[in-house]
């Protein structure tokens, strides 16, 4: 049983690509972001930050879809993601298209 539904507009969707930013010295090494990243982007590193904790490190940067869960789960405001610059144009275009569609529908 490994079937997955295929969205009908899969050809139109471009999976967003995110970029992770970490302020290492703010991190207290709780591991929430690593544990709950749905795309397995992060791992704990071996290095120590200024407070003596192990901050996370980006393991699979290409997997990040900019969902922002790490940013919301981080209790120390130390990690966040942004949309990669080349995706921003696409997402803008897409939202413009969506708006157009929405207008037509209404």
């Amino acid at each position: 049983m490994n079937y997955k539904r295929i969205p009908y507009d899969i050809d139109k969707i471009k999976i967003p690509q995110g970029e992770i930013h970490i302020i290492k010295n703010r991190c207290k090494g709780c591991g929430f972001c690593v544990e709950y990243c749905p795309r397995d982007v992060l791992e704990m590193s071996d290095e120590f930050n200024a407070m003596g904790y192990h901050p996370p490190r980006v393991k699979n940067p290409e997997n990040c879809v900019n969902c922002g869960l790490c940013e919301m789960l981080c209790p120390d405001f130390a990690i966040w993601s942004t949309l990669k610059p080349d995706c921003r144009q696409a997402s803008k275009k897409k939202s413009a298209e969506d708006e157009k569609e929405a207008k037509i529908e209404s």
Partner: protein, 283 residues
Amino acid sequence: MIKKEDHHPMESLLRMDRIPHIWCPGCGIGTTVTAFIVALEKLKLDFNKVCVVSGIGCTGRVAGYINLDSFHTTHGRAIPFATGIKLGNPELKVVVFSGDGDLISIGGNHFIHAARRNIDLTVICVNNFIYAMTGGQVAPTTPLTAYTTTSPYGNFELPSNVPQLAESAGAVYVARWTALHIRRLTNSIIEALQKPGFSVVEVISPCAMYYSRINRLGDGIDMMKFYHENSVIKHNEPTENLDIDYQKEIIVGKFINRERPTFTDSYNDWLVTEKKAQSKSMI
């Protein structure tokens, strides 16, 4: 929220000169704060008109980190202080951000009566089952049999059920989430902020240093995993079923969403519109 590469997106709503905060590694209060900040950003409120009032305790320190008009008051008195602010200037959106010990134990009476009057406040109650700032003493929310420094043989007092207390006292919006249900928590905070009247959002939050250490429950992340596996979303569940037993399933969700006139509305309707107050002066 405009995201930049060099600044954390929540920095505009944080007092960055006070970060890093004092909360321990694995604590869920910071996570609750991010949910609150995201909720504020999504609502596009005028941040000059939002006040945060906290009492004393770990969660009481929230007032010191959020870059809004914020008041760090005495133990248990966050709700009456917030009542004063709200009645002093009804334009303001007043949020009480405090812990279970502060709101339910020493401030329990204020909690009940603010709910009864339906003062237009949003109460975010971070429940970590323990008095953490003072070193891990038994709280009114500590589950039965759990160890704390002042229940060294296991807690034998029945804990409070916060949503049931809020409902029976008259709150118009009651929800409970864990610090892990971060998006649902955000949505609940948004709804609570928009709801006129006394709204309560309880957040079950890991205390890695005191609650989980003395009970041998692992780190904050282990508590989060426990929430992940044992929390059950049951919207509109009758609040009497929401007791939390030690290391048993935690029912989360949105339980109460009802309409009652707020204190300010009743005051205006009764005294201003109905003019009940005419020529009643003593002299």
